[in-house]
Subunit: 265 residues, 2 copies
């Protein structure tokens, strides 16, 4: 990478050279790892690469609660970064139900294939969410040009795959209690970025309907299950605030010990 390298900018603006890019990197927040960094953001080591990413992305924009992310008609797929808030990757099934495949919070990235006939995937904001994106072609170029980005991206996708397998394994087995407890345990953990304590009052912008969509249960049964868990003193969900009264019991019920959960998020 020499000083004359040219960095193409989003929206067709005049390309920047490296020094301009370095300058920009001082001013922009990192959209690739704005908050969490499971893998340390390799790009911090290279101002130009860092800046290239910032520039390649679209302008961040807010999505209203419950709204779908939908770019202007675009034959290309897109890679989204969640900067703030929560979003859900979901599949809309033929029978009208929707199934949540993944919750994403600040720092997570999601690939959305171009809309095709054979998959009804969508990304929906739970509560107001700030997101930005690049097109997949631009993303491919970034992968090819910035090895450190490629490496980080690769480990992200691999991680997502392992997480999807973990959910698949969980999904097949166990009672509604276990599913609900496991979901709340995971979301609370990811939300706090540490093990929940009984005193924590954790705000999560999800309803019981979302819990149903993520676990494959009906909302009615989620309600019953939650009252059961509340009566037993395990956890409580009131509005959008969750309290985990007995973390050890929740961990045991969910089948995912604290150390393991820490590994996932």
């Amino acid at each position: 990478m020499d000083g004359t390298q040219v960095i193409e900018r989003a929206d067709g603006a005049a390309p920047w050279n490296r020094s301009q890019a370095e300058d920009a990197s001082q001013r922009h927040p990192c959209s690739i790892c704005p908050v969490r960094s499971r893998v340390p953001c390799g790009l911090a080591r290279d101002a130009a690469a860092f800046a290239a990413l910032e520039i390649a992305r679209s302008t961040p924009r807010w999505i209203a609660s419950g709204q779908q992310i939908r770019e202007p008609v675009d034959l290309d797929g897109r890679v989204y970064t969640v900067l703030q808030g929560w979003v859900a990757l979901q599949e809309d099934l033929v029978d009208g139900r929707t199934m949540i495949l993944r919750f994403a919070t600040a720092g997570d990235m999601l690939t959305i294939e171009p809309a095709t006939l054979h998959s009804a995937r969508s990304v929906v904001a739970l509560g107001p969410a700030l997101i930005c994106s690049f097109t997949q072609t631009r993303h491919r170029r970034l992968l090819a040009e910035w090895p450190e980005f490629a490496e980080q991206w690769h480990s992200r996708v691999e991680h997502d795959l392992q997480l999807a397998y973990a959910h698949l394994a969980e999904m097949a087995v166990g009672s509604a209690r276990r599913h609900v407890a496991a979901l709340i345990w995971e979301l609370a953990f990811r939300s706090l970025r540490r093990a929940p304590r009984p005193s924590d009052r954790i705000h999560m912008p999800i309803s019981q309907i979302h819990i149903g969509a993520a676990t494959g249960l009906t909302a009615v049964h989620v309600s019953r299950t939650l009252s059961g868990l509340r009566d037993e003193g395990l956890l409580e969900m009131r509005g959008h605030v969750i309290s985990i009264h007995d973390p050890a019991a929740v961990a045991r019920l969910s089948g995912v010990p604290e150390e393991v959960m820490a590994h996932w998020c």
Copy 2:
């Protein structure tokens, strides 16, 4: 890539230079895409890269039916390639049950993390299977050094992730009939690499127990479900031979039309 580039060989043998590698590439079959090539194998364009992969992998070896793949104690994880036969990636749950996360056939690759406390993943051969592998550190080096390999690998992992999401969505919804029909529909499709016809007698080295492990049903209920499907004339499973008498009905029941299935495999 110049003629003096040195290619490290597995097992610590003396490194090869490029011309030796090219020579080797004439003699070795490609372990990266031995059969299927969803994505055309980019490496065919570069003899040296092709050879580097062949050399980096371990010697292929046969795994007996039902046996786990277990490398000699190895702190590093490994990336396996299935050359022949079928294997299952599975998770062994605490209650003794096992859940199949993914079936892999010739040409598929699987990443296995080093054994840790917090995941009981294993890879088991269904019927005799020929596999080879490299360590994850070697794999990382290949990714860094051969962009075309990295690109192909990336699209594989992305594909696996999308497939895992599709299974997750399927898992949550529908009856045992649907789950079983969907699994058999998928496996038959992948086995034939085309849509099954009523006259096909498809050999798959899986038992009803495996179907149960992959769908989350008990073997008992799989048996009942299969007899139901047989009585209705949809499909038949006798020993390890499956016949799909009414592909259209099976596709409809499974919820995965033929075009979509073709996209997945």
